[in-house]
Point group: D2
């Protein structure tokens, strides 16, 4: 016994690949479709419109198909309200809960289309019936009684459409390869950063300790000093190594000017932490004149907010480190709104953490020496992502140089 529902899609559904994905999903799930209406935009600037009849063998299969294609913006013809159910307890989801994408989303509630706030993938959508608001809520924040959206009906996703003009940013869209012209790519990243800053955009940096080990700390400090970075996400290690380098010229005991370990250098790591302890915080240590340069110094001087998230392998940690991972995550979520670009350099852990929290329209640039780390980051569905297989120790100095050259040209 065949069952069916009609859905519609609109926008640049052909050239953005959405139509293809919808057809694919229907067939993957064993369904079938008929095209009822298909108004193709005659010119590349025109949007298209399609109405499809989805046929399935039974209600369950049909529901499965609708659930999948919903994520690409296909919505039922007859618009209905979302269904909401109260959470039975803290962190306990109602059956059939809706799990969010990272695309802009609205929910129809009491006949009104409400934009969902704080878009983030794999969250619940909780509706506030008084304020007539809806927001993405991580499971960890779900409270007993929260009204949770259930099923896809009434939820409308707006997946990103392919940019009409190929911007600087899209030039290497979606692929990862070490066989790219490195200097060209870095010049383009610089151009994109400059353009974004001219438009008043905010750029976050997610960085790993290899930035210091590879000798790129001065370059990154200069990039921060010149105002290109608005937020820093990192762990204890990046900050400790940066401060160790400022205090003693070493990173984990290796002299970065000679590449050789120095005598007793293995203690510098603990000494650096201890010196900050003595002052009480990184800010105090800067104010006390203990820390006089480097990445953390520039962040303090420019009042750039940072999250140093604790991890189980930390030494110390520094007093600024948020050792509770959920608190660190909350602080990260507070800082992300408003970011238009995230530059991720040489850290998989923090990059995945930040990447999971980004709406799909935030541009991301991922730099790592290991192509597999990039593939893992790019796989997470970010549309505007560039993966650069390179060495932080050469990438950041080149980037700083390019920012300098190109900013003078403007």
């Amino acid at each position: 016994m065949q069952v069916f529902r009609e859905v519609e899609l609109e926008g640049h559904i052909i050239d953005s690949g959405i139509m293809t994905k919808v057809f694919d999903k229907i067939m993957d799930k064993g369904g079938n479709f008929e095209i009822i209406v298909f108004d193709v935009g005659k010119r590349k600037t025109d949007p298209s419109y399609a109405r499809l009849r989805i046929n399935a063998d039974d209600d369950q299969q049909l529901a499965g198909i609708l659930s999948e294609i919903h994520r690409y913006g296909a919505h039922l013809l007859e618009e209905k309200d979302v269904t909401v159910l109260p959470a039975e307890g803290n962190r306990i989801v109602p059956a059939g809960f809706y799990s969010s994408t990272h695309h802009p989303t609205s929910v129809r509630y009491h006949g009104r289309l409400i934009p969902v706030q704080h878009i983030k993938m794999d969250c619940l959508i909780v509706v506030d019936p008084l304020a007539m608001e809806a927001r993405c809520t991580p499971l960890s924040k779900l409270k007993k009684g929260d009204l949770v959206v259930v099923g896809e009906e009434g939820v409308q996703v707006i997946p990103p459409e392919r940019p009409r003009q190929v911007s600087n940013f899209e030039f290497m869209h979606g692929t990862v390869s070490p066989e790219r012209p490195s200097e060209t790519i870095i010049a383009k990243v610089a151009a994109e950063m400059l353009e974004l800053k001219r438009e008043g955009g905010k750029i976050a940096l997610v960085g790993g300790p290899a930035i210091i080990h590879t000798g790129a700390a001065p370059a990154l400090a200069a990039i921060i000093r010149k105002g290109y970075i608005d937020i820093l996400f990192a762990g204890n290690a990046l900050a400790v190594h940066d401060i160790e380098y400022n205090l003693y010229g070493t990173s984990l005991g290796m002299d970065l000017c000679t590449g050789k370990p120095v005598t007793g250098g293995h203690k510098n790591h603990l000494s650096a932490i201890s010196e900050v302890m003595r002052s009480g915080s990184i800010r105090k240590a800067v104010e006390d004149g203990v820390i006089t340069s480097g990445i953390m110094y520039e962040c303090i001087r420019r009042d750039i907010p940072y999250v140093l998230a604790g991890s189980i392998r930390d030494d110390g940690p520094l007093p600024d480190v948020i050792t509770d991972s959920m608190e660190a995550q909350d602080r990260m979520l507070e800082l992300i709104p408003g970011c238009s670009m995230v530059l991720m350099v040489a850290t998989l852990l923090h990059s995945v953490a930040v990447g999971n929290c980004l709406p799909s329209y935030v541009k991301t640039i991922c730099v790592d020496i290991n192509p597999s780390s990039l593939t893992k980051l790019m796989d997470r569905g970010t549309m505007h992502a560039i993966g650069v297989v390179s060495d932080a120790g050469t990438f950041l100095p080149f980037l700083e140089e390019q920012l300098e050259i190109q900013s003078r040209e403007c």
Copy 2:
């Protein structure tokens, strides 16, 4: 001054993603399009038909667009003959030569549509006007006076359409990740091999020396003995290590039963080559009773053709090795036609060489411990490719076990 041409596309152009790629390419190249006719197949089993008017700013831009979309099967409305020009000299191409894809292709010549033989990417198409035949010809084989197809006009490419039914093979289509259920994947590879052998298909194996180092030689030998492999592509090293293991139980001097180097084991490599020299060839060494088991032994016993291609890092090499790379390539090209599947294990060099010669409809399974090697292999446009991030030393024994279990079940 705007210029334009009309093209048409037909087949499963929507659900196979072809339509999207055509739209993309037009826009990437700065062109524009109008849809003149768009008959969408109403059901997923129906083909579609589209007629587009491509608009461009000048003839050069238009030619660029047509050249790109041609590769996805878009052809000019008014069918014309191909233009051919004679090669000026051996290995010298005429200006504007057509460079082949790895998709099935036909050329219109004297009003007749001729299928192009020996499909292989990045070749010239040479037409034989007497025999009314056309074939893909590598640059190395181009002779002075050969009639070479020039431009895209009259050439029709049939890109692979998405399979209507999701087969075993497509289950992990196109992605590479070490985070897959290994045993499940191996079971599916075995199922696909069994099905293909039942249908009379031919399977080629491309293998690297790590097969022996990781202790998988007995498993591969068993797979060959049981009739699953029809052709072997490898280098000198695989054969030498295999024979060393048979003669002395070592691979580059390491005892594979203990994992430890044996005394004087570093000589076994040269001794193994020398023993084959004494017999004159691997076949003779098998017939003389010198080689009594292993991969090469099973190939000889089952009369399985093999190509051992020489490389600059070879020791010896064995008398069976084809030291001239062009001769080895020719021999490889002779053996490939008729292959329906290629299993590539732990070798990038030989896998790329074979992959470059395969038509797009041949199924390929690539196994490597390094995800980057797989990405490189999968990037080459193979549609029916599975990449498995695994260790030859565990993959092949599991595969042998699965082939045994599943063949008994049938």
Copy 3:
């Protein structure tokens, strides 16, 4: 003006490579030496004794040399007490503090040689003058007034000597290569585990989520059920995926029996966490009959202690997760004493965390598909470490099989 000091070394200082390292360090630091006494053990079972006069250009260079060679067991001829200084504040080190190695260490205090407890690298040694005890203290635990050892004088390190008999374990000592006989290595790991369990040893497992993604959860669960694992160190992800697999047959929505994503499967992750929330803890969920198999189930059933350490990328997390990284570290440090082997599978973060806490005599086996991760783990100075470049999805099933076969043989 030359300065000098005499040091002595004893034990298997030649064949364990200690002598070489001492000579190397002296020369690296620009010093010079004369051999005063050198009693070489005449037979390989005899210990050796050496007395060296270290010459340097000045006191600072001499101190640098002594500091370095001290770590290899070289100690000053004239035995003196350690110097201790009180910590100025919590987490604030006194100048010149001694930073521990991971080798067994003693300190001379009031003329008595006291063994240092809780050996762990990069810690302070705090002396308790009343109890006449000394212990390794991480910076995070240092309290104001603690008596901290300063300088190397009076500290004696006993670096591990090369085992007289080559055991199973040492067969591939210290190198990382994907080109090893996988099945042979796994058989040896199994043999070592069996021997260690017969001697009453404790084995800890450090595992990453790829264990579940690669389909190895049932194998690991069986290994735990059969009593080979005594402690589990992991993160939220391993436990969530394991429970998701038990509840829904999926891991991050992928059906592990088919390798394909299931409809709505992306919700299973949150549902799994939510189900445990409903019960209150993993233990309760097992007792409630919600969780009926898998890694966590076996841990609960066998009362195996586990640490699930929180990280910034966690969803949920499960109620059992210790979200504060310092608390998680403390719990880890409590469980480590008594471990004689640690098996690290497919996680760099947790493996480094655990590795940093291990004394040098604990055997470690590191398994990862990425050779670089292994190199990083092996670099940390572990003497008894084996690195296996393999896929968790095939390694663990093979290991389980080997444990089964070999335990029956005994």
Copy 4:
């Protein structure tokens, strides 16, 4: 029944680690030793002398031990002549043949100590009794009747001793890590190259096609133009991409200034080869004014010898490519003598091929984005090797800059 032999060692056998390795090998092989004489150099500049009595259970074990320690320079007390046996046929070794190390070696023949020429590992040593010469002979060159050294007796190996002064070059001796200060390392490589050129040394470059893909061709061309490179080892691909870039600005069709593929760019590869064909050779194409810049251009202009070795994956190939791998190897072997440094950039195949042919005293610098490739290269026993985990596209421009800056300073 115990058997024994006495051996002696001399030189910097302690601080170069040789003594340790000898003791290790004796024990690995189950033997035992007594130290008869041990004159340790009193100062670090003094050589040492040791006489050991090796005890074993039987003759075979003793022979095994002697064979192993022989490679570290341990030789029998009573000096005897080498035994030689004629090769039974071309490429057929006599039983018990001696296989060479890559260390300087001499053989005692008719009472005279003859230095072995063309030192290269894994070769036979063939003695010419008339000329009283000995040379390393690859198996492929062994002719019937050649007098081949058999056993270790009479062969004396001089393993490299640790340099007395830590030079620039040794600063990161023997380890591979992406976590190094990139700019520091590159500056040191430049310093070493400059020093070596001042001393009249010859530097060979082994390069892969990624040099062009990553946009580093102009930097390498400049390094060659300035006289830092004396020999080039590469494959067809490096030369074709370099020439394609010179002729069309693309590498495999990608515009290196924009990072984007150009229309019809996939044909540039074949066109570039065809253009060289038209001229007849790369040299002719330079003389004809077809090729006007780039790596190959600079080689031709400076008369720098190059070997372009064919491989099975080649397109074309260029007329300059030596398609026979054994011929290419011969040409490589002709050029290597006299090289004092080899810079290996982004190619595993050619680097291994060259590395296998180098005596142990030639300095090698290996640059690759993949740490595993470096580990593989460094494992081959080269003593003076630096591995740099970096991106050719940033490494080479930085190196050129450093060579420029530092050469001006001198």
